[in-house]
Amino acid sequence: MNRIDQKFKELKERKKKAFIAFLTAGDPNLKTTGEMVVSFEKAGVDIIELGVPFSDPLADGPTIQAASQRALQKGVTLEKILASVRKIRRKTNIPVALMTYYNPIFHYGEERFMSKARACGVDGLIVPDLPPEEASGFIKAARAQDISTVFFLAPTTSKNRVPKIVKASTGFIYYVSLTGVTGVRQSLPKDFVGDVKAVQNVTDKPVCVGFGVSNARQVKAVGKVADGVIVGSAIIKEIQKNAGKEDLVRNVTRFVRSLTRAL
């Protein structure tokens, strides 16, 4: 049982939902990213989704695209991110899942990557351009290191695909609230409620909802149904707003706390 499983077990016992915060690793720099992880945990964040910047983030909207670009320009690499997770692990046991496009992992070598990731304290992987159909080697390598493999369900996922995705997923299942890319939305489509419940009926694995969730009201609404809520772009925007400021970590944490309190 890795840290993600442990966390969901605890939350279940406390009848609580998970708050999952997304950060682009290295925006504004890896040191600050590390400080935010520690500070977010104190503000009630349960799991960190750490984005690995990629040159061609085709599932991401403008906010995370820009954050990736900034991080890449600073010279952030997968190797440096792993090293930084290792450092973070000296200070906190918060579960960390890396969100990365497939090519950096493929290029690193799946088995080599998994063993390094585990050694550095990574608990899970979320890969938006890797469906279960292409993931047999990836899953095998991850299982060998007890790293969770989080796969996606979308509003357009056909019923006959659901069992395959549920089976491939460990840690949790990521339900994409809308058809589209990541980014802040004023309102979310309602169909996720029925979809999430339908999945929960066929599995005990936690189902978490992300994409578009950006304010306390939405967090609360999603938290009523889902086992966890994922917020990304709204946090990145807050970081951008505070770029260059000395109290960046404190200000962003304050915003994050306003969201975790809604759960």
């Binding site: 890797l130 159909e133 357009t156």
Partner: protein, 392 residues
């Protein structure tokens, strides 16, 4: 073994590396396409449009003065440049738009580099009265202003893409983002034998007519098969269109010409098969130009249509099994090739196509005895006049 297999793989290459939102759509597309390829009414309609609208069959022209100059080669040009809109791209867009209609989609999107695929898509969309949006890198919009204007005249909205390198790769990122967002009513017409399964197969199937015709025409003229096939490779649709019908003719050698840009050793090129390794981008596993950290490198070529860090998975497969050879020529050599064909035959090729022409001179020096070659003359150069004026 026929490729792709049921799961869309060409050996280790190909596949479906896309966000979950698109997976169900891709299997619907697969089902529709597999049933349509056997559907006589659909085939008939497609062939009719190719003939009556696009202008098929295209000529296989014996380039006598060029051959004479090259001495060791007897060169035939497959004149895809004579098609409506000026390049082979129209074969594919007519095919895909017929599929889109069958699937009840009302909105068409596409990416474009040189603008040829954009124009061919805009043309097909106008022909069928469908709304059309084309994504094009801001850098390419500058290089290919004439094609932008053509698309707009045809009623298409051209959206400038300002992210990343502002070229074809980024236009494709943006088209995929649109697709993920509007997946329910939108059909994405991919312009090359790239992207997730079933696109590489589907585009090949709509372009295979190039090789089918060329094979028959060559046999009629020469009573044998050619020694060589030659075509430029960006994503590789004109090359695959020519090559595929000769796959089992083991004596016919196939050569794909990538863009070496400023030179392979400068890193400033668009030659993933020559200098890339294997990677995953835009839905499939194939040759990919990337850094040691697995980030996609920015490609460079004087030809906007070749300015792409990836390549169709079937080409990576052909390279791996040794069925085709992939070579490259630089920007400078391509310009030389463009001048050569213009002056010897009175045909100004597109800058992309000029890469294949340029390689003829190298091939002429390599062959041991007089050999025959079919070059896919994939597009005409009208669109490039501004760009060429700048570099000549």
């Amino acid at each position: 073994m026929t490729v792709p297999d049921k799961t869309g793989h060409f050996g280790e290459f190909g596949g479906k590396y896309v966000p979950e939102t698109l997976m169900t759509l891709l299997s619907d597309l697969e089902k529709t396409f597999f049933s349509l390829r056997k559907d006589k009414t659909f085939r008939k309609e497609f062939v009719e449009y190719l003939k009556e609208y696009a202008g098929r069959p295209t000529n296989l022209y014996h380039a006598k003065r060029l051959s004479k100059q090259l001495k060791t080669l007897k060169v035939y040009l497959k004149r895809e440049d004579l098609l409506h809109t000026g390049a082979h791209k129209i074969n594919n867009t007519l095919g895909q738009i017929l599929v889109a209609k069958r699937m009840g989609k009302t909105r068409i999107i596409a990416e474009t580099g040189a603008g040829q695929h954009g124009v061919a898509t805009a043309t097909a969309a106008a022909l069928f009265g469908l709304k059309c949006v084309v994504y094009m890198g801001a850098e390419d919009i500058k290089r290919q202003a004439l094609n932008v204007f053509r698309m707009q005249l045809l009623g298409t909205e051209v959206v400038p893409v300002t992210s990343g390198s502002q070229t074809l790769k980024d236009a494709m990122n943006e088209a995929i983002r649109d697709w993920v967002t509007n997946v329910r009513d939108t059909f994405y017409i991919i312009g090359s034998v790239a992207g997730p399964h079933p696109y590489p197969l589907m585009v090949r199937e709509f372009q295979v007519v190039i090789g089918q015709e060329a094979r028959k025409q060559f046999q009629q003229k020469e009573k044998k098969l050619p020694d060589y096939l030659l075509a430029c490779v960006g994503g590789g649709s004109n090359a695959m269109g020519l090559f595929h019908s000769f796959f089992n003719d083991k004596k016919v050698k196939m050569i794909g010409v990538e863009a070496a840009g400023l030179g392979l050793n400068t890193g400033q090129h668009s030659a993933p098969l020559a200098d890339g390794g294997v990677g995953v981008l835009h839905g499939s596993k194939s040759g990919l130009m990337q850094t040691k950290d697995g980030q996609v490198r920015v490609a460079h070529s004087v030809a906007a249509g070749l300015d792409y860090p990836g390549v169709g998975p079937e080409h990576a497969y052909y390279q791996k099994i040794g069925r085709a050879q992939y070579v490259s020529v630089t920007d400078k050599e391509a310009i030389k090739g463009l001048k050569l064909l213009s002056k010897t035959e009175g045909i100004i090729p597109a800058l992309e196509t000029a890469h294949a022409i340029a390689y003829l001179e190298k091939l002429a020096k390599k062959v041991k005895k007089k050999s025959t070659v079919i070059v896919c003359l994939s597009g005409r150069g009208d669109k490039d006049m501004e760009a060429i004026k700048e570099v000549i």
